[in-house]
Symmetry: C2
Subunit: 455 residues, 2 copies
């Protein structure tokens, strides 16, 4: 057997142990956005540090940031070979609405081919698969490449402290390429590789009216209700064709090349499957674009949350003093989050009535990224996926945003290859998040192959 | 001294004790809408039952309903004289936003001329003032009229069980007139008397899109976000002139008589004071109407609450599965709450996009009421106010809704006189609710006079 086959066989014979270890990891409720889970965040970070130590990594540390810490370690035993910086995150999304989970979000539960838990696909299962690929090499003679691992705890917050962390630890993080495993494939039998990532601009909009909540029977009709005013502002952010109306929003949106468009059209997609997956009877979106284009290459604006007044059971006849909405835009090259913030403020300046006041709070940003396709990292990833799945991977424009990608490009001067094995129906960020175990196991194999191909 | 003056003097010499008793009552957190306060509701009901017993009332009972119980008692010691049914409620509004209270809502606190506590003005202070007027007569020789007292626990819920209760206890509640003390005056030195009450129709609107919360980066732009769709629907409920757009909404809205309009125009009002009281820099409302008309004689539609998606601290990139708004309309004669429900549904049928589904839940209703001005009860109330304040009371159209008024008219065939001493700036339903004590003491005197004038 070749060393590659030995490593792959080692992984296969350890599936059961890997799964039980993954369950242990997913039982830690590392919800980064909730202060009550601060101790769990520390616990998750230490879990990863402990893993790295067991794999023989050096300089393993849980390093402080302005927020949750970053786990780091390095295994530099392949002189003359490239150094790969593996990126992942140990934080997960909140679990609400909790009552819609079939099994508790932090009691990882197997049903059929899937393991159900918050964060199991996004992305504990992905980073775990990569660590198990590393283990398979380490236990079978050693890694063919030099490795650094960086696991952060604030990706679900938009990585607010990662840029500063990378800037501060430039030497420590020096590498030839970043392997970002926070990614997915299109279908269990159809691997894909990300050639572009949308950016993110996330805001809170506050609309304020009266100084305090008022009785709606006494004051209603004489003041502009801030909840109504906020609804009016949100309603105006899309026109009848689903276009976003922020002034200048589309000015920098690029037209795709013929090659990119052709690649994109090859993405397997069925609107009926899309409806089934999301549970809607009818799709919606920007006129003149297909669903894959709407979620991949076009910028979007979504309401992530809205709150005003009394929302408990029963009735309260209140005229609320204020209303708040969380709104985020997915950005495409070459939109700029800072410019989008100005566009949002300009929209509000032009459209907010003088009967209320408004405030915009920027909550998190990520720049959109275009990935260079003809690089050593991309070639290795494509070959690893093809060898593992027996199918040539499809190029994919990722709808989600991964702030690290633009950060390593600007701070370390390196590209990031996105390779992970989540599936579109994994319900990340929603209830009943799952990991498709056959894809997880294939992912381990693909990572094993990738490291050899990079050597 | 006449018996009237003796009763008034008795009340004056007992102000300090009354105040300490009122504090005791306001310390009971009888929030009807929150199930956690069920025991407090019972405690508040028993507090009133105990009061009535101490005043010599007979047949005192805490009677069950489909919801919170009703306190009843009667004092029928004035043969040949009219029977007055005093109505009040012992329930109060929720206290959120709690952090905006200067002193805790159930720790009644004196600052200046005001007592601060949730429910102190709406309406524990009002019903307490009336009971103290009764006490003043009882201790000085006996009540000049026959009295029945009914204190319910669900007014802040829209009195969902009171109609059935009155229908069941018609004989017990038989009376010549109802004195509803859940009311107020315009200013400390300007008494007013209600000649019309707006009705209420309160709804929850649910808009649903995907089967579960989705990742906004993966699905955003391809589905109609239910929060966005709800905002679009709410935004369309008022046109650019502030008119309500529900089909047929104004069909039954009556034109006021010249006399009513003239009375109404005499209501003292200043837009500047209104702005100061509510804390806005600019008013808003239906074009073509003054502020007093907008809050008194015109129907309104207000958002009382809205909730969708993630509203905690930080960011969550979720595309929510559903969105909910609490919306209520104040109705004027002769609008009908059941018809308004149909109008709302018709609006949604016509305007809701086919990309989402919607549901309307009716949460509570009250019919609007016009009060007959030339009745024995109204004449006595007007005279009592004039004698107490030294000023002729102003006729007032009440913006708020008191379901009991239409119920006693339809079930018992009697009119209700609205006489209470809350002030427009008492912050009922909001934080820092207060009772203006000089008005509370004058209220006791006015009630004492009213009972004699009714004899």
């Amino acid at each position: 057997m070749t060393p590659l086959n030995q490593a792959i066989e080692y992984a296969k014979s350890n599936h059961a142990r890997y799964l039980s270890e993954l369950k242990e990891l997913c039982a830690i409720p590392s919800i980064s956005t909730l202060p009550a889970h601060k101790a769990d965040m520390q616990r998750a970070a230490e879990w990863f540090a402990n893993q790295l130590t067991k794999l023989g990594f050096k300089n393993v540390d849980v390093l402080p940031t302005g927020g949750h810490p970053v786990v780091f370690g390095e295994l530099l035993n392949a002189p003359g070979k490239p150094t790969i910086l593996v990126y992942g995150h140990y934080d997960v999304q909140p679990v609400d609405p909790l009552n819609e989970w079939v099994s508790p979000p932090f009691d990882p539960t197997l049903r059929g081919d899937n393991l159900y838990a918050r964060g199991v696909s996004d992305m504990k299962g992905q980073i775990h698969a990569c660590l198990k690929a590393i283990e398979s090499w380490v236990k079978q003679g050693g890694s063919p490449v030099n490795l650094k691992v960086m696991v952060e705890g604030e990706e679900e917050l938009g990585s607010p402290n990662l840029g500063a962390f990378i800037a501060k630890h430039k030497d420590k993080l020096k590498c030839d390429v970043v392997l970002n495993v926070d990614s997915g494939i299109l279908k269990p039998d159809l691997p894909s590789i990300v050639c572009g990532l949308r950016g993110l601009a996330y805001f809170e909009i506050w609309v304020r009216g009266p100084a305090h909540d008022l009785h709606s029977g006494l004051f209603g009709g004489s003041l502009h209700n801030p909840a109504q005013a906020l609804c009016e502002l949100i309603a105006g952010m899309h026109d009848a064709n689903g276009h976003i109306t922020l002034p200048g929003f589309y000015d920098k949106v690029r037209v795709l090349s013929e090659e990119e468009r052709a690649d994109h059209a090859r993405t397997p997609h069925s609107d009926d499957e899309w409806k089934a997956m999301s549970g809607v009877s009818q799709l919606y979106g920007e006129k003149g674009f297909t669903t894959p284009e709407r979620v991949g290459v076009r910028p979007t604006l979504e309401v992530n949350g809205i709150l005003s007044g009394f929302t408990g059971d029963g009735i309260k006849t209140v005229l609320p003093a204020k209303a708040m909405a969380k709104i985020s835009m997915r950005l495409v090259p070459y939109q700029d989050p800072a410019e989008v913030e100005q566009q949002l403020k300009e929209y509000l300046k032009r459209n907010a009535p003088s009967t209320v006041t408004w405030e915009v709070k920027a909550m998190g940003t990520a720049h959109p990224v275009l990935v260079e396709r003809d690089s050593p990292g991309m070639r290795a990833a494509i070959a690893a996926l093809q060898a593992t799945f027996g199918v040539k991977p499809v190029f994919k424009l990722e709808g989600g945003s991964v702030p690290v990608v633009s950060m390593v490009k600007s701070q370390l001067g390196v590209d990031a290859v996105q390779m992970g094995f989540g599936l579109p129906d994994d319900n990340f960020h929603g209830p009943n998040e799952k990991l498709h175990l056959p894809s997880y196991y294939r992912g381990i194999e693909a990572f094993i192959r990738f490291f050899e191909l990079m050597a």
